[in-house]
Symmetry: C2
Subunit: 259 residues, 2 copies
Amino acid sequence: MQNQGIVILGAGKVAQQLYLQFLRSGIEVSTIWARNLSKATIALGTAPVCNQLSELPTDAHLYIICVSDGAIAEVAAQLPIEIRMKRLVVHTSGATPMSVLAQSCKHFGVFYPLQTFSASSKPDWTQIPICVHANSDDLLQRLQHLASRIAKHIYVINDEQRLALHVAAVFVNNFSNYLFHIGATICETEGVSFDILKPLIAETIEKLKYQLPKSAQTGPAIRNDVVTIARHEDFLSKYPTDFQAAYQLLTNGIKSMKE
Amino acid sequence: MQNQGIVILGAGKVAQQLYLQFLRSGIEVSTIWARNLSKATIALGTAPVCNQLSELPTDAHLYIICVSDGAIAEVAAQLPIEIRMKRLVVHTSGATPMSVLAQSCKHFGVFYPLQTFSASSKPDWTQIPICVHANSDDLLQRLQHLASRIAKHIYVINDEQRLALHVAAVFVNNFSNYLFHIGATICETEGVSFDILKPLIAETIEKLKYQLPKSAQTGPAIRNDVVTIARHEDFLSKYPTDFQAAYQLLTNGIKSMKE
């Protein structure tokens, strides 16, 4: 019988957000496994928690491994044999091939919510794409069905495509945020409010609704406005070399968009 | 008498968007000057256009120079003497000091709408900050008053602060857009829709509403997740060296945020 709901392995940001969304969607989470029991108990509230993989219920219908990428294979290998032979085991990593589960598990897949989660954010799951993949069509359908109960946009994405999305996500999310950090640092240093730039940031995103980034590109680099670029480089000379190097490299990258 | 409205010098994107917003706000634009008359006539519709600086009306209450940064001083110097001695002349450049007008004009300032304008976009002027500055308090008040008739957020910003905002704007707008271009290129190459990433981009911006970019930073670089970084670099090896160089440099920049 596979009636004991879902087991979540991990207590980090993805585990927490998935757990909360399963709860909201009326999907039972039977157990959460966490190495650090006290941390998990605080973070996850009333969910049943255990810190021994050997003590996990073996009859859940899905085991979701939400640990750091480097620990996925290790956690999978330590699951009880009954889980590894009979149950569906998935990971939630964008950058990890599905095959890391193949050595220890018979039925496996990926359940990757493509979003940036933080402790304080309240993600809108109607807007979060979930990328699924599995080693059989039957399992894939089960994952699609589950995903459709907690989200609206479900994509079947293979390993290579998922890695591509993960790399692209680093560019559009992590690296953009770093550029916002540079902008905020410059504003703070010069005594102007970063808020002045927020409408500009909003418009940068707004444009993506109706055109490709390539055709939305503006600024001194795409115009090859050497006077302005020189003024900016001069201005940045008092800032960390990281900022100067980013300015030069990204300016040159934009210049080569024209080619 | 200063009753002939505003004269706009230039017919580019900023000139066009300012012109349209003055029209919407019931502010008379008496003349538009453009080197290329036919281009200006097409772009600006029914506005009176001339291509001779010597033929400009000399009794407008404001002359707004919206030409490329490198041409501002030259255009100002060629204005009729009556304008240069009696009228208020401003430029709209973020990166150009107000002082480029000092050599030829007696009353001068800056009227800088901090936004990215493109031909197809319809900017929301209630959201556009306008940064003003002038060489006397009286003129500054006139610019503030005018700005408040077309926008809601008006800031008095000096040359150094305006240059800082301009540099920061390049980071948060131009460079972010370039990163979106890289993301879109990767998606296209791998046959997945760039749309999958748009909720992530939206969330990246959403977070700025309640936290600084520094505390919103996530991803493999800030975690120093060397396995994922190596996977990403390996994935990018088939892409342009610009993409690889940007990945490495921005990853290193994020790593140094922790220090």
